[in-house]
């Protein structure tokens, strides 16, 4: 969060944001599953002006050896921003921010994958941000869980994630680039709609307890919405794989063994 705030008007008299959204309205989100050939699973996502590709390899032999876990698979996520995805060119290679994000995304995904089915292996998740416009970590996690499902990896659920923030004194859902740069709080969160479980959560900035409550309520609603889009992407993927004979709307083929 920048400290230079609040002289810009982010919410107009009619309660509309600079891009015309309501405070609790998400940017348009599109997800397509199964977009890469070599990867075991993949998903491409456009969310507002974010463009994110996720790919999954595994379960496969874990390198280096000493990281193997004898009782389960480990999830190794690598979140990366392409050099041209941001305003000033970013040097290729991991920086401290991307290493932290990779870690918390790995942890969130570990929660839903049945890692105990694949001892000693690694499930590798690669997230590449082609174009960034606020909220890339939640976009990456949202895409990654679709890619995991596309790879056929047994999961107890999908992981939708979204950021809520604060600008111009208002709690707003799914900050865009400008709102993020000049806003005064940011709270990325991943929540499983069915159980209300929080798998990823960070916060920085300044929020009262009341604002936090509002923010979490926005996030909860949005995660349900994102979850539906994730499921839809997988439906379309399975339908296209299965051809025309199995183009129904039944949920049975989705990876929710514990539903």
């Amino acid at each position: 969060m920048s400290e230079i705030v609040d002289d810009i008007k982010f919410i107009d008299e009619e309660g509309k944001r600079i891009d015309g959204r309501r405070v609790d309205e998400m940017r348009p989100l599109k997800i397509e599953a199964g977009v890469l050939k070599r990867a075991d699973g993949s998903a491409y996502l456009e969310w507002g002006d974010n463009k994110v590709m996720a790919a999954v390899y595994g379960p496969r032999e874990c390198h280096p050896r000493h990281m193997q876990n004898p009782s389960r698979a480990i999830i190794q996520c690598r979140y990366n921003m392409m050099s041209f995805s941001v305003s000033d060119r970013k040097r290729p290679g991991p920086d401290r921010r991307s290493i932290e994000i990779s870690k918390i995304i790995s942890e969130a995904l570990e929660n839903v994958v049945f890692t105990e089915n694949f001892p000693r292996t690694s499930i590798d998740v690669y997230i590449e941000v082609l174009q960034a416009n606020a909220g890339t970590r939640v976009a990456g996690l949202t895409a990654a869980s679709v890619a995991l499902a596309d790879a056929g990896i047994p999961m107890r659920d999908l992981v939708p994630a979204v950021a809520v923030g604060k600008a111009d004194g208002h709690i707003i859902l799914d900050l865009n680039g400008k709102e993020d740069n000049f806003g005064s709080a940011d709270l990325p969160i991943a929540m499983i709609p069915r159980t209300g479980e929080v798998l990823l959560m960070q916060m920085d900035g300044h929020m009262t307890m009341e604002e936090l409550d509002l923010a979490l309520s926005y996030a909860k609603k949005a995660c349900q919405e994102i979850y539906d889009i994730q499921r839809d992407a997988l439906h379309r993927r399975y339908a296209s794989q299965a051809g025309t004979e199995d183009d129904n709307d039944d949920d049975d083929d989705l990876p929710d063994e514990e539903a």
């Binding site: 929660n111 479980e197 959560m201 920085d204 900035g205 300044h206 929020m207 009262t208």
Partner: protein, 257 residues
Amino acid sequence: MADEVVSQIKKGHIHKLLSMGRRMDGRSADEYRSITVEAGIIGSAQGSARVRIGNTDVVVGVKMDVGSPFPDTPDRGVLTTNAELIPMASPTFEPGPPDQNAIELSRVVDRGIRESEMIDLQKLCIVEGEEVWINFLDIYVLDYDGNLFDACFYGAVAALRNTIVPAEKHEKGDDYPMPLRHYPIQTTAVKIENSILFDPALDEEMVADARLTVTTDENGDLRAMQKGLAGALTLDEVNEIIDTSLRLSKGLREIIG
């Protein structure tokens, strides 16, 4: 393998105790171990502190230099936070550049300091767009027995409160204390099965399912949070942790002060 077995046994033991409402070292769920703060112990630093929480032992130093501001904040000083998990502190720490654990640690400490606006960075501007004070906040862990997040944060706060801007040495007028605005406090709790435990000791950390670090200010407002580990928290648990954090923060603020 052996580690795995020991870990399973330890886990069983801790779970059994918790089911009886007890922790290994007899603390209550929201009780911190003994905290000691020694401020100003490094003469070669502009500010410093050594903080112990139980056997966890960290030393923090602040070095200040004159340098250029970032282009997008021409009227503010610069804060750079680094944490080193040196192999002295644990058989599991390895030499080399900071790994993902050290990076998460330093970024969480940095976020707590930065987002609370603890430092008045505008008062660390010398000539707008040209010269500002650069703060290097360096954290070294000497002994690791759990809850590094809080130990390092308290060390950082204590070191900053103890920092003197070395203006004379750089011919920028008289020395003055680091300009501070807030005194944020942070707590860290873990969830083990259905228990929420604050200030986890190492053995508790090893079997924890989820972790939540919460930073609040004097007004009881939230300044930063970081959830960690693969386990889930319900919104109720999140709220419970934040409430307890606020309750604990007054006592902690007095100790760190």
